[in-house]
Subunit: 191 residues, 2 copies
């Protein structure tokens, strides 16, 4: 997706050999028009599937999930990383390890928002080790949902996530695939 | 806002005399079309202001802030409730107490995303005690930003937040104002 790659080239900051900061448009400040373009692109790439819900995880997945859901005319459900007193015991839960934050979080969704037989599209901002996406897929399967596919805004293809999701049989669509960081610059995979 | 009030009446669940669950369309599952309508309404209510950024707090504020920013053609900045290793010391920070979760969180925004002289519109999903909105306003003032106003999706008018924000001189616009919960039902303020 050229618009996204151009934005990564102009505003992304390569911090070290594994971390790319894109907080000026994706996960701290958000560019709403870019998010709409991302949502349209996900909707187009999964147009062959009959999707009932877009499924993501707080916080950085919410923006791209919302625009995707707008284009697909379906609701978003976002998994929560911590229990609030408003969350009852009636939840599907899984564990997700964050390599960035070096913590394992309980990730939960109330059972009433995912129903057996529904088809969900999993959407998230980043794919590195695949922990979040696999956690969301685990919750979807607990609920008896079909996973139509996994849409990722930015994938670091040199980390294990891509292969783990493909090996698990998921239809994966990443809008920008990064092969490496070289001399402080982003090198994309060929389309 | 009639569409929102109708949704609250049909899907909101009054848990006790102070807690309303609206997690089927606002803060766990999200209704994207309703969020677009909310964004349009905020943009209309603050149309007289020249707004540079929409400013909110993760996670539940992100959806309504994004649609507002789409309508205003400006970026969203969302404050983070916990420090990740991607957040440097170059941040504005304030403390926000959550009566729901009974914890005080450090809320932070990287300084590079709020600039002196900019005008921000603060948007959030709920107003109860006003802690989150006042925390965001505090950060905006630390950055030398003007606060154009505060847009709230659902206000519990019987709790102190409304009066605290009005007393502090802010232009407050709440799309649904709840006067009381009576016999398990929502009673709205008169428009």
């Amino acid at each position: 997706m050229k618009l996204l790659k151009d934005k990564i080239m102009s505003e992304g900051i390569v911090l070290n050999d594994s971390i790319l900061k894109v907080d000026s448009f994706l996960n701290h400040q958000i560019d709403p028009e870019l998010m709409m373009a991302v949502g349209k692109e996900f909707a187009a790439r999964f147009a062959d599937e009959k999707i009932d819900k877009v499924f993501t995880i707080e916080s950085s997945g919410i923006a791209c999930a919302l625009t995707t859901a707008l284009c697909l005319h379906v609701p978003v459900v976002f998994a929560r990383k911590q229990k609030s007193e408003l969350m009852s015991s009636e939840a599907y839960t899984t564990k997700v390890y964050s390599f960035t934050k070096k913590v394992t979080s309980d990730v939960s969704v109330l059972k009433k928002f995912l129903h057996e037989g529904e088809t969900v599209l999993i959407v998230d901002d980043f794919l590195a080790n695949g922990e979040a996406a696999l956690g969301l897929a685990d919750i979807a399967h607990q609920a008896g949902c079909k996973v139509a596919g996994i849409g990722i805004v930015i994938e670091k293809s040199f980390q294990p996530g891509h292969q783990r999701l493909v090996d698990a049989g998921y239809h994966l669509e990443s809008l920008a695939r990064i092969k490496a960081f070289k001399d402080g610059k982003v090198v994309f995979e060929e389309d």
